[in-house]
Symmetry: C2
Subunit: 504 residues, 2 copies
């Protein structure tokens, strides 16, 4: 060990979850901190063997870190694939060239293909701090991206991650832009399409701001965090999968951007488009169906804005060689009965098992979407997709395929049932006039969804139904009495989430 | 202790410097993390006694934090004024209303007075994460602020901090927008004005990206981190002070914004204007002189842009009741001999002591600025300020006042002298044609400035001088042989920092 090596600190795994941003903790009196003149919150290049990362430095003025050690957060430890006792080399992080492009965007310049590719690559390589991502997001907000920039952003996201390829041409996928509670058509559509022999490598997200994402729902029934290899095997064997996208590296730049967008509560349309399309392209899809629910409390509030988004998705997708079909659907109220991971899973099982108690609206939407996708992929003739999709469900083929996929992903289990329930009753008789998706989502989240899988809301009320005073509007499900109380309080102060009026 | 209290964790001082952003570290298996459903990087309200802060949570999956404890960074600990063994209450942070205004700005809306005041207040109260500040900065970049917004931003910064008041009307101050190495006129101007009996409560910053700030220079001669009370006493006794602005709370929102701007390398003119004016208004000044050096490698590169900035400073200042006078000065080369805290301090001492070896250009600038300020404050008649300023120096009154201020701030000491020096020689004879401020600043920083007070560059070369081959152009001063090497390497690869040509 030469003189320089002797001052290299030993890496210490601190077990701190700082999400995607790597952190390093160093004593103020450590030789390397002094010799390099490091300051707290500065960017440090950490090197070991042939690997390197840029981490944010936190200087420690206590014995939290012992002399001769440098503490690393989980992301930092894993990215460097460190082993216990290894020494790491620390130096000032080099200048990240693509930050100049973010500044250029902030000052109103249009970015070219190379620049957006570099930005996406540097996001994935962990070369930015979250403040840089926040600057990028803000600079692109307010419709500040041209169609070319959105195209390059999409391409950049694809290039910065892994990609999948499949034999044959009939590689399909579906996506919903979200915002509609209970709209859990994916497990049903995947089961139908896979049963028909089309390849549908579906990856889904967990809930970002909603009470459940498809990955959360599937997790109540099977394993969803598959490795890249596992996912490939499941799809090769059963034509489809229902996996969590976070554990495979399809468009990882997008995942990182989303986490910062969530903190800012700012998103930009360019990112929404690039996010959807990049994941589908990286998954190897050729034909994609996108469901855009439209309604006063859905994500898209007007037909006009939904159509504009649809046009951009189709155009940018087309430029990337993806055949995109968009369906605008009714987003005026939740779909099915359940809102929350397990409650939605029970709805899915009901539809797939052809149960008479299954929610008719979820079944209707699922066969509609599956039918359109069958026609879009030119597997069924125009006008015949929906009846074929219905047949696949009613014959039991879809359920059989769903079970095969679950078994291949790690085994099927029944979704959990909540310990605590409370019914909410109508205070008057009348017709259900309007339902507020946002308030209902909030209610389900206050009940514990998505973290507590069994928690959420079970809806009895549907727009247009006549309801008599005292009958059940909805049931709150919760894993803890405290949360049940909390959710009920919210309901009682926000009864406008379900509007009942005399006459239709 | 009731049941709820028993799960309150005990606060643990971790001694981690995370700058202004408070951090809290909590075990994943702690009762409060589980019952509240906290996620890593979420925002948590921390309460103790009557104090509360919002901190960013880092979940720990190891024994770094013991059961029953919650670790706090230094900022978090100090803001809550915690004592060892105190229990803290943790809950989800409430929604910060003013974040909606930042989003509005990102989407192109003009902000009103109330909104900008709220944003500044929330910055100071620590209600934002750095990503929110990054979004605000980016949304305001590219000349996106109206003059009214700049006015409200300035007012908001003043209102969110402490303010000083002084008896009488002749409260003066000076400020340089920076970017010119060695331009250390403040200690001299303050000494002249205070000697004349005008009140000049000067606070300065430490270097942000430069080799020295006035606070760094003064720190080589006296104590600069004065409390609010100490600062008041020094000024009451000797009419002036030369303190670090960071330890008094004048416009603290500005300091926080600057730290994020530094990370982004994005700044906006509105902030520059609000930054300068809010600090002067908060310090109780009535007459302010602003020095804007203009030159190809200064902060302001053209007379036109400097004049535009000058107009905005004068107009916005006027709206706030501040009499602003702007002087555009020559920014084509460094001022004085020294670049770096101690080397600049020696220049200041030379001028104040009337030494024949003192740099003539620093003296000339200082008496010019002091003279303009004397006339601007209507203490001297037009055309008589400069000669009076010169008289105050040459009579020794300025030096006497400077020493009194230093003694009152904690005692005068001589600046340190570097252990290692290396001369850089001219490779040819000729006239010095151009000097690059930015490269020279970089050279001084590589030598160790501002962290190592004695390090930096001592300039012999001045534009227009004739120099013979082999004579000394500059001397690099350093506290460590390694840094001396490093700086010399940089000089050898960037000799264009001093251009020598035959003929003028």
């Amino acid at each position: 060990m030469d003189k320089t090596e002797s001052i290299l600190p030993v890496a210490l795994r601190l077990g701190i979850n700082s999400r995607h941003e790597p952190l390093i903790f160093l004593r103020s009196d450590s030789p390397v901190a002094r010799s390099e003149g490091f300051e707290s919150m500065s960017r440090v290049l950490v090197q070991v063997n042939n690997k390197s990362i840029i981490a944010t430095l936190l200087i420690v003025y206590s014995d939290l870190i012992q002399s001769g050690f440098a503490g690393l957060s989980e992301t930092a430890w894993k990215r460097l694939k460190l082993k216990k006792g290894q020494r790491i080399k620390l130096s000032h992080a080099p200048q990240v060239d693509s930050l100049a492009y973010i500044r250029a965007k902030a000052f109103g310049h249009e970015l070219n293909k190379h620049q957006l590719q570099e930005i996406m690559r540097d996001i994935v390589d962990g070369h930015y701090m979250d403040v840089h991502l926040a600057a990028f997001i803000t600079a692109c907000a307010n419709n500040n991206m041209t169609q070319n920039e959105i195209l390059y952003l999409t391409q950049g996201m694809v290039d910065a991650g892994e990609t999948l390829t499949w034999p044959g041409d009939k590689i399909v996928d579906k996506h919903c832009v979200g915002g509609l509670p209970g709209n859990r058509t994916s497990p049903i559509v995947v089961s139908i399409l896979a049963a028909k022999g089309l390849t549908i490598p579906k990856t889904s997200s967990r809930a970002i701001t909603s009470p459940a994402g498809t990955a959360d729902v599937m997790e109540t029934m099977t394993k969803v965090d598959l490795s890249f290899e596992q996912l490939k095997q499941v799809v090769q064997k059963h034509h489809g999968c229902l996996a969590w996208g976070g554990s495979v590296s399809l468009s990882p730049a997008d995942d990182i951007l989303i986490s910062v967008e969530k903190a800012l509560d700012i998103d930009f349309e360019g990112q929404l488009i690039a996010s959807i399309l990049s994941k589908k392209i990286a998954a190897g899809s050729k034909y994609v169906l996108i469901d855009i629910p439209v309604g006063p409390t859905a994500k898209l509030r007007s037909e006009e804005s939904a159509q504009a988004l649809a046009n951009q998705l189709t155009t940018v997708g087309g430029e990337m060689g993806l055949k995109v079909k968009v369906v605008l659907t009714d987003g005026s109220q939740p779909v099915g009965y359940g809102i929350g991971p397990a409650l939605e899973a029970w709805d899915v099982i009901g539809v797939l098992k052809n149960a008479s108690s299954a929610p008719a609206d979820l079944k209707e939407r699922s066969v509609l979407l599956a039918g359109v996708l069958l026609e879009h992929a030119e597997v069924e003739a125009t006008g015949e997709g929906k009846s074929e999709a219905l047949r696949v469900i009613e014959s039991g083929e879809a359920w059989k395929t769903f079970m095969q996929i679950c078994e291949a992903q790690g085994g099927f289990k029944h979704p959990p049932v909540a310990c605590c329930k409370m019914d909410v009753h109508a205070e008057r008789s009348g017709y259900i006039r309007r339902i507020n998706n946002r308030l209902l989502s909030r209610l389900a989240k206050l009940a514990g969804a998505p973290a507590d899988h069994a928690s959420g809301v079970y809806m009895e009320a549907k727009v247009g139904h006549y309801i008599t005073e005292g009958s059940t509007l909805l049931t709150i499900h919760s894993e803890a009495p405290g949360e049940l109380e909390y959710a009920l309080d919210f309901y009682n102060t926000h009864k406008e989430m379900i509007i009942i009026e005399e006459g239709l």
